[in-house]
Amino acid sequence: MDFYFGLIQIIGVHTLLGLSAYVILLTGQLSIAQAAFYAIGAYVSAMLTVLWGWHIVPALFAGAAMGAFFATLVGFPALRVRGLMLVIATLAFGEGVRLFFFNFDYQIQKGNVKVGPLGPEGFRQIRYFPENGWTTFDVMLFVWVFVILVMALIWWVDRSRYGAVLRAVGDDELAAQSVGINLTAVKVSAMTVGGGIAGLAGCLYAHYTTHIEHLGFGVLQSVFAVAYPIIGGMASVFGTLFAVIFVQGILVEGLRFLGDWRNLLFGALIIVAMVVRPTGFLDALMLKRFARWFALGRERA
């Protein structure tokens, strides 16, 4: 059972990572810097719990806040570039942050060991969960409380005016500007929210892996963050969730029985997913069908 709880934890954290990219993608900005905010959240919260003995919940919010703060710093210069150039700019920022942690040393003597991040060796012994008696099941619930909160928040936002504004900017910036929408405020706020969610995910990642290092926060991680909403579809947060379940549940774990073929099928099935459904699993049309199906069901009952 531990294995399933662990897998659900991974799906939860990756869903948060995907949602951080989703929110930004709604405004038409493709950001490959999510792993940077993920890293910032991870290191900050881990330092708080390991070096200064904070409780996990305030450390988590601190990590999320730092992620959001740095995302705002990226959000403003990002306004000047769009399309592929934004992709490169965010990639550059992301790599910059990773290289910062590659060089970052901050160790404190605790008892007879030194704890804290040590540059390329990473940050080990982030053992808040096992040391405080949390079981795999407890951690899973903890992760999913936040996943459900964030999903509910984004779902609610999507149904509100702010959601419509985000999508308007994503669909056509010129039209949005001409109805009086403040592009700067919308784009930067989306970046900030995305950075905060990624920082939150990073804290959870650091604590359930117990060891973080710069290599885990590279371009590939950012690419996956943005892959989830693209594969899942931009119509609803559930699309991202389905994409994470598809990638982590099916491609990574489910296909293990295929042995060696799994690695090859990983890339191949991503190609197939995109060719078969270029607008993602859950695009606007699919969402309407689902909604009608649910409504019909309710009517019959």
Partner: protein, 400 residues
Amino acid sequence: MSKIALAVAAAFAATLGMQGGALAQEKTIKLAGFGVKSGVLRLFGLNSEAALKAAVEEVNKAGGVKLGDGSKAKFELADYLDDRCNAEEGISVVRRIAGSDALIAIGPTCSNVAEPLYGILQKKVDDKGDTGLQFPILTDVAIKGGLAKISEWSFRNVPSEFTMYSSLFYWLKTKHPNLTTVYGGVEEDFAHSRASWYAVMKDRSAANGYKVLGESKWLLNDTNFSTQVREMKKANADIVAIAAHPFTTCGVLKEMQRQGVKPKLLVGLTSTSSMETLAGCAKHAQGLIIPTSFAPVTKESKHAAEATAKKKGAADLHSMAAWENVFILKEAIERAKISGNKDAASLQTDRRKLRDALAATKTTKGLLGISKRTEDREADKPYVFVHAKGNDWVVLHNPL
């Protein structure tokens, strides 16, 4: 019609019952291997898997392992799982193995998987407040120094680079007393190679009377070494020691040839003494001296290499550690008097007994001789020095 059907069904059920009875008498002990089978490190996983299969087959052919109740059980090797050198996946894989009826897991390949993995294990065995995973792991490949002490459930059978390079530099000093200077090359962003230069090669060469003139640095997937090799050329040291993996080692060696840098001796990183280096740059690696915990110099090591080759794997210090692990486990299991029952309670008791037996092991029988086990669950393995000659790694000096 139905009477015949009933009779057939009854006969079938009877045979099933008989089979069930026969099966119930033969116990198996399950071992699970895991590591990397995708990407650039694929070779490591393939070789370890082959070595495990060969070793398990050999143990079973000789009768298997003796259980606590005196009966014999065969080793069963679960499918080798691929963790793709990814921390989350490695943890997931071990949780999956722990949820099966395996007694112990052998792996991982990557040090950056081993560290988080040991981190999720219970730190001290009888700490009730620690909810870490209680499952033993015996590592064959991940070689970054000082990891096994992270948890009392983690054990490693990897060589001590500190001991080997200490001995190597001492031997080089006595054999070539006219050579006095050392210059290093190091892969900075990979924890293992970085530690191997600063904490091991640099330290140990200085301790043996060499003057260390400095080091050139690069990153794991760098491809342009012109500036670094120019620094090396300027230093003009007698010995150049390269703490890097095959890809960048080959790149640096090729650049050295281009710029005409010819040190008197070349020393390399432990893991570079493999087929990869020879496949990439055999010509340029000629004479590269590396200490290793495996070379086919004894009867046992030759036999292990042959058996692994039959399973389509190559024998090197990494895969042969996996082979040794199977025999270490056989011996520990027999000492621990394992029950071999598959119900949850017995399984957990067996795992604990195996862990305790491993912790109490003082020496193990390695392929080159007796390996000592240390207090913090690492190994002190016998070694030889090899150098690249032709298309092979040939023994240069055998201190055994």
